[in-house]
């Protein structure tokens, strides 16, 4: 595992991002759609936290909620949502907007559509700079070139004049990363940044993100469905299923001794983590439709150890082994049996 052990100073520092009991519901013509239900998460400065889940788990909604980019049809409730000690919910729109791009930044999944197609790369970077800093254009341009160079784009002086369609997918993502990190934000949210890229480019981009985050002390919230990426990048992992958090743990703990049946299924479905000869554990069934959420534990229809209690009672996220500084939490009625699997 390539993550490094965090120093004690970081471990005891107050969290950079603190999410408590966050719920997001969308208003639609066919009724309210619950996307997130009571999510709690915290990220310490410099830490990389991966949020894992299949599509439909609500992980993208979580990142948009943190950034304040949810559409007007979304209703957000949380008992706590703070960034660097400041209450995001109590903030004015203006202050919130100032945070975006400067203190917290986001990169998205699809680099081919995330850039303005009729604007040159350089101009888009300059805009990102000047939204938060009033510096003259030539200076901004120089910084833009520097930022592009830092992401490993060859001939950045030429690339600044290019249009997005003139760059490859990997280069576009690098440009987007440059744009996101240009103000050295304290939190970077990466929503599946490599999913749309070629396999060969994926590793490069991951390395880039990790390196830049480490250099700038940026905390990263990594959204992904790929356990391999989690193994590469994360210090801590939070597993999301159908809008609820089912397990959190340090990356090493999660891979060594996963607890929740869903986590086990995710890891079991990963070809490379299996010993040769062992059968793979694919997870039966599919992610539930948000409109028809199962009662009780959302996972019970697909869970091999589900009981009557799972169908009726929602399992709360509880801390295991509270003495550990990194803390493990789990939301399952069968804490003991899960480890037997």
């Amino acid at each position: 595992m390539k993550h490094m052990t965090l120093p004690d100073s970081v471990m005891t520092a107050p969290p950079l991002l603190s999410v408590e009991n966050l719920s997001v519901t969308f208003r639609t013509d066919s009724g309210p759609l619950p996307a997130l239900d009571g999510i709690s998460l915290s990220i310490r400065p410099g830490e990389t936290v991966a949020v894992v889940g299949e599509s439909g788990s609500g992980k993208s909604v979580l990142s948009l909620a943190v950034m304040g980019l949810l559409p007007p049809t979304a209703e957000l409730t949380a008992s706590g949502l703070t960034f660097d000690g400041e209450d995001l919910q109590a903030m004015s729109k203006r202050t919130r907007r100032d945070l975006r791009g400067r203190d917290m930044a986001m990169i998205f999944q699809e680099p081919s559509t995330a850039l303005n197609p009729v604007q040159r790369i350089g101009d888009q970077l300059i805009e990102a700079i000047r939204l938060h800093e009033d510096i003259p254009t030539p200076k901004a341009r120089a910084r833009a070139i520097e930022a592009l160079a830092a992401t490993g784009i060859p001939s950045p002086e030429l690339r600044v004049r290019a249009y997005p369609h003139e760059l490859s997918g990997g280069m576009r993502q690098r440009a987007l990363i440059a744009m996101a990190l240009i103000h050295r934000p304290r939190l970077l949210i990466a929503d599946e940044p490599t999913t749309a890229l070629d396999v060969t480019v994926q590793a490069q981009i991951l390395d880039l993100i990790r390196g830049l985050a480490r250099d700038n002390g940026t905390a990263t919230l990594f959204i992904t469905h790929d356990m391999g990426v989690v193994a590469e990048m994360a210090d801590r992992v939070a597993v999301l299923y159908a809008g609820r958090m089912v397990e959190t743990a340090s990356a090493s703990d999660l891979f060594e001794s996963p607890e929740h049946p869903y986590t086990l299924g995710l890891l079991g479905s990963m070809p490379q983590l299996n010993q040769r000869g062992e059968a793979m554990l694919p997870i039966a069934g599919t992610v539930p439709d948000l409109r028809q959420m199962p009662s009780g534990c959302h996972f019970h229809p697909r869970c091999p150890i589900a009981t009557e209690r799972c169908r009726t009672e929602e399992p709360k996220l509880q801390a295991l082994e509270a003495s550990q500084p990194e803390g493990r939490t789990l939301a399952c009625h069968h804490v003991e049996e899960a480890t037997i699997l």
Binding site: L69, R97, N116, V118, E127, A128, L131, H165, L176
Partner: protein, 313 residues
């Protein structure tokens, strides 16, 4: 890029050739013999025969076609059967007023429609949006002639504006008062479709990925709308407006007829009804060619303006 343009121009030329062919065939298919019409009811057979030879009507069809094309290209489209005036001269004289009318209609209708569409897209689902969509559906469904008739009724009651003919150049008071009603009527049919297209295109643009990126950078909503959403939406909108010239032309034909505006449209309709085939042929070919020309121009402008299109193969 040049290759693409040439290819499109080529296709348009083929269509133009087709139009000319149809125009030529028109004169062949009509039941009336133009020679007889010119000779008049007292014409003797010899006279008719002489006229036929003069018009070249006894030549093989293919030769006639070639001859005809060469004449059209040099600007000679024959004489009106009714008053012997040169068709091309009449057309040139009528072209100005038609262009004037269409421009006058666009000058007020396009900005209005754009404004309405932008407003509707920004307040999507709100009252303004629903109103704009409702008005545009009605605008597309209402017959042009009814709008014209309503205007005439209104004008007659208030005696505010003249309802017939053209009063002079646009920059004179007389000219302006005469163009007001027809330009309003004609413009009204544009507002609906353009507003609706603007609303849809802009609405889509506002939900685009790159707009989300702009918001994530910390851009204000105003900036997002102007610099990012509108910028990418404006291009298809302008193209669509350019293509609305077709609708405008159709409306112009009716509007000119109702308000007795001395344009090509009125000329076309009038000549068909009176059986003045050379004039009808000339007017239709003129209108079709003008339309094709505008199309090509819009295409060229579109190609030049969009940085993406140039490098696509």
């Amino acid at each position: 890029m040049i290759a693409r343009l040439l290819r499109r121009a080529g296709i348009s030329l083929i269509v133009l050739a087709g139009v000319l062919l149809i125009g030529f065939l028109m004169l062949q298919v009509i039941p009336a013999d133009p020679a007889v019409a010119i000779a008049g009811p007292q014409g003797t057979d010899d006279e008719i025969e002489a006229i036929r030879r003069h018009l070249g009507l006894d030549q093989p069809i293919l030769l006639q076609f070639v001859w005809y094309i060469s004449r059209v290209v040099t600007g000679d489209m024959g004489q009106s059967v009714i008053n012997n005036a040169s068709v091309s001269a009449e057309l040139l004289r009528a072209a100005g007023p038609t262009i004037e009318l269409m421009c006058a209609a666009m000058i007020w209708a396009v900005p209005t429609a754009l404004a309405l569409g932008i407003l509707a897209a920004l307040r999507r689902g709100g009252i303004v949006d629903r109103l704009v969509m409702a008005v545009s559906v009605m605008g597309v469904s209402v017959p042009v002639f009814w709008v014209g008739l309503l205007m005439i009724q209104f004008a007659a009651r208030t005696r505010a504006f003249p309802i017939q003919g053209r009063g002079g150049p646009l920059w004179t008071a007389e000219g302006l008062s005469h163009i007001l009603l027809p330009a309003t009527a004609l413009g009204l049919i544009l507002v609906g479709p353009v507003a609706r297209m603007t609303r849809t295109t802009l609405s889509d643009a506002l939900h685009a990925d790159h707009v989300r990126t702009a918001r994530a950078k910390g851009a204000s909503e105003l900036r997002v709308v102007l610099n990012h959403a509108l910028r990418t939406a404006l291009l298809p909108i302008i193209t669509l407006v350019g293509l609305q010239v077709g609708t405008l032309m159709g409306g112009a034909v009716v509007t000119e007829t109702i308000f007795s505006w001395p344009g090509v449209g009125r000329l076309a309709v009038g000549s068909i009804i009176t059986g003045d085939y050379p004039m009808a042929q000339g007017a239709i070919i003129f209108l079709a060619s003008a339309f094709i020309l505008v199309n090509i121009t819009v295409d060229v402008l579109n190609e030049l303006a969009d940085p993406r299109i140039g490098s696509r193969s």
